[in-house]
């Protein structure tokens, strides 16, 4: 079973869409010119991430079966589905976080970001993760000050100009709607913030390195409703600058914040369409059963 409402082939990158991070090459070798078969049909948004027949294994058990999915630039894409359906696994494939787990492997299929296969041996994983940031289910600020949390990624890149860092800290915290709450205590520990603030700090930390894509793995699962609303509003404001992929258990959340929704079940992509369509007139009976709350 493959995706239904999407073009069946990959989309070429549009040269008219420059990005701040394009100057940094993802690979150490020149990116190969890639073009999908018949890549001239024009979808609504440009495809940024092209997942092509991806199979993924944890040891001997297959977690993802032939996933085909095109994620569009500057849109919010939601992955929904019951527990264990593979949505988080797919998310973690997008910045190769699964590499950290022993015994995992991609067996067949490709993930291309701007046409570059990120599982190619020449790809610099470090560079990839700078460009595909991630926010986790449980907020995980470092046991350092708020300021150091935000500047961590920049310092890794060797940036140490104080004025420069100060500017990024303010910009990132404003971007994460946290500036007004913490501007007077940038040097106190990030662990001293409330749960919702910690999660927004993690988002600020992720956007500080100016990634192209932000992956969010159930970012509101551990938050109370008020904090959840704030993070959702934040996601809305971030869509203008970043491509966001969000995994969520909460269907209302998917309906509220996303442009496109992908429904997974048993390691397979069942349906992928505009969010409006998924929740109002799903084409697949399984999707219909899940979004209407009959299982999951």
């Amino acid at each position: 079973m493959t995706a239904l409402n999407v073009p069946a082939f990959a989309m070429d990158i549009s040269p008219s869409k420059p990005s701040a991070s394009e100057a940094r090459p993802l690979t150490t070798v020149p990116a190969r010119a890639t073009s999908g078969p018949g890549g001239s049909s024009a979808p609504v948004g440009a495809t940024l991430i092209d997942i092509d027949h991806l199979n993924f294994f944890y040891g001997a058990s297959q977690a993802l079966h032939g996933i085909n999915l095109q994620i569009e630039e500057k849109k919010v894409t939601a992955f929904i589905g019951p527990s264990g359906c593979g949505k988080s696994t797919l998310l973690r494939c997008l910045n190769r976080m699964n590499d950290l787990i022993e015994g995992t492997r991609v067996a067949g299929g490709k993930i291309k970001i701007r046409g570059v296969d990120i599982y190619d041996p020449t790809v610099d994983v470090i560079e990839l993760r700078k460009r595909v940031g991630m926010v986790f289910q449980k907020s995980n600020p470092f046991p350092k000050s708020i300021y150091e949390n935000i500047t961590y990624g920049l310092r890794l890149q060797g940036r140490s100009n104080k004025a420069d860092l100060d500017a990024v800290v303010e910009k990132s915290l404003r971007g994460a709607a946290l500036w007004d709450e913490v501007k007077d205590r940038l040097n106190s520990s990030g662990l001293g913030l409330s749960g919702g603030q910690q999660q927004r700090l993690c988002i600020a930390r992720a956007i500080a390195v100016e990634p192209e894509v932000i992956l969010m793995d159930e970012p509101c699962a551990a938050l109370d409703p008020i904090a959840t609303v704030k993070v959702e509003e934040l996601i809305q404001s971030l869509r203008e600058r970043f491509t966001i992929v969000i995994v969520t258990h909460n269907m209302q959340q998917a309906a509220r914040c996303s442009d496109k929704t992908a429904f997974f079940y048993m390691g397979k992509l069942i349906e992928y369409a505009d969010t409006r369509n998924i929740f109002t007139k799903p084409s697949n009976p399984q999707t219909e059963a899940y979004v209407s709350g009959r299982f999951g």
Binding site: M97, L100, I126, E127, N140, F142
Partner: protein, 533 residues
């Protein structure tokens, strides 16, 4: 209204088949068994602590009496002169050293044969002889006074023994025999007259001594080599400084008063700041912990300097970088080190390591290393190396635990921001587990400072404060340690004697040291423990 259900309703007897042990239900029996074990361990701990304190604190009273006797019997008085005399001994050593250097110069640089060299040194030898003979009048007086003071002390001790004997007889109810025990009352002022009466003699002897030294120096030969000539000038300075101390000694002797009381705290300060641990001496025993403490400290420091990089480094590697296979092999290996009985390690230290280190130190291409070459096979370095071996498993295991406790979420977040593994380790994992690592090191220190067998066998057992003027070479000197001294001397001392109690106080010091280290380690871990989620 219904009648209440009778209590012995058969359907309600749920307790019927309970097993009972000693009249208790099984649950209660188990509870009391484990509770009893816990209680016994607390009681035993209390008893040990009580015993340690009771035996240890007796030392201070005895030490004060000992110091009082030292004063009353005039030993202190005689020691003023002895100090003066030992100053002269140091100077003659300096002169011998000078002669040796000059001799080497003559034989190696000027290529003289032995006889000719000795002939050249005749003038120097004459000077040296005059210089060292100068002390004779003082030395003669000193030896007389020493004999007299010893006699007074012996008399006093005999009287004390008699007192004890009488007391024992009284306790045994033999009052007639007790009355028969004759106790000589010591008339200290009368006895001490002999000593203080010698003051005029001392005055003349001291003056004569000073005059002889000055005369000898006036006739000192000149040395051609500029370096040795400077040394000779230095000798003049040292000697004139030395002679300048004579009036102070005289003043001490004149103002000395045997009735001056020994303040109560002096028994403690003489222990804590005492630079001598001298036992079974014919003259006066000294119980000063400083040489032992410094010994323990130096050995432990060397051990930690070696063990911390190894232990912490191995922990970081195994926890953060090694493959599962390496972990399976290396972890048990490091932990297995602690399975060696320490006496085996000590034996290894004597038979292999000490020998090997000495051999290594005598290699010519290593002569630039401070302290090399050394001749003492057993020294701080040898003991420190072996203690490091003992500390490594402790430090490794605890540091690895601390690293393991760093939440995985920190690492993931770091990787997701584009950090390499090394950056993640240095910037996130190690800082987050630093408190645990520090406490691991502290517990390693606790392990090392309490270790006995290895230091007893390998530290060299020379009771002396390490000579820090040697710089880094200090670690090639033999020392004795607090644990070593207890193990070595406890078997030979008379129970209840001051020496016996002094060893207990050393034990107490060790006890408090361990307590402090453990307390600190726990405190650090608690205070900086990171909680997430």
């Amino acid at each position: 209204m219904d009648a209440p259900r009778p209590a012995h309703d058969p359907e309600f007897l749920v307790n019927k088949t309970r097993v009972r042990v000693l009249g208790l239900s099984l649950d209660d029996a188990v509870k009391f068994f484990f509770g009893g074990n816990a209680f016994i361990s607390v009681v035993v701990l209390t008893l040990i602590t009580y015993f340690l304190f009771q035996e240890g604190f007796g030392f201070f009273g005895q030490n004060q009496r000992s110091l009082l006797t030292y004063r009353q019997a005039g030993l202190e008085y005689v020691d003023f002169i002895r100090t003066q005399e030992s100053g002269h001994t140091a100077l003659t050593r300096y002169i011998s050293d000078l002669r040796l250097r000059q001799f080497n110069e003559l034989t190696t640089v000027r290529k003289l044969d032995l006889e000719a060299a000795n002939a050249q040194l005749a003038a120097f030898d004459e000077f040296s002889g005059q210089f060292s003979d100068g002390v004779d009048p003082l030395r003669g007086l000193l030896s007389d006074l020493t004999e007299q003071a010893t006699a007074i002390k012996t008399k006093f001790l005999v009287a004390e023994d008699k007192k004890v004997e009488r007391q024992q007889l009284v306790d045994a109810g033999k009052s007639v025999e007790a009355a028969a025990v004759k106790i000589d009352q010591i008339d200290f002022p009368a006895e001490l007259k002999v000593l203080t009466g010698a003051l005029p003699l001392y005055r003349t002897a001291s003056a004569e001594f000073a005059a002889k030294l000055t005369a000898a120096l006036a006739k000192a030969p000149t040395l051609s080599n500029p370096e040795l000539a400077t040394r000779l000038i230095r000798l003049r300075e040292l000697t004139s400084d030395y002679i300048a101390t004579f009036p102070a000694t005289l003043r001490s002797l004149e103002t000395w008063d045997y009735t001056r009381p020994v303040p109560w705290y002096q028994s403690a300060t003489s222990f804590i700041t005492g630079r001598q641990w001298l036992t079974a001496s014919f003259w006066q025993d000294w119980y000063g912990i400083v040489p032992l403490f410094m010994g323990s400290l130096m050995v432990s420091l060397v051990a930690l300097l070696i063990a911390v990089p190894f232990g912490v480094g191995a922990a970081i590697y195994i926890n953060q970088m090694a493959s599962a296979r390496e972990q399976r092999i290396v972890k048990p290996c490091i932990e297995f080190i602690s399975a060696f009985p320490s006496v085996v390690l000590g034996f290894f230290g004597i038979a292999v390591l000490g020998q090997a280190l000495r051999l290594l130190s005598q290699q010519e291409w290593l002569a630039w290393v401070p302290g090399f070459p050394f001749s003492e096979r057993l020294n701080i370095l040898t003991a420190g190396c072996l203690l490091a071996l003992i500390a490594v498993p402790t430090i490794f295991t605890l540091a690895e635990d601390a690293l393991q406790n760093v939440p995985k979420a920190f690492k993931e977040a770091s990787f997701a921001l584009g950090a390499t593994r090394l950056q993640t380790i240095i910037r996130i994992v190690v800082p987050a587990s630093l408190s645990g690592i520090i406490s691991a090191v502290l517990l390693g220190l606790g392990r090392v400072i309490g270790e006995t067998m290895v230091v007893l066998l390998c530290a060299g057992n020379r009771i002396a404060i390490p000579d820090f003027t040697a710089g880094l070479a200090v670690i090639t000197q033999p020392v004795h340690t607090m644990t070593g001294i207890i193990a070595q001397e406890m078997g030979e001392v008379v129970q209840g004697s001051i020496h016996y109690r002094a060893l207990f106080v050393v034990g107490l010091v060790l006890f408090f040291l361990s307590l402090a280290i453990n307390f600190l380690a726990q405190k650090i871990v608690r205070k900086y423990r990171i909680s997430i989620g």
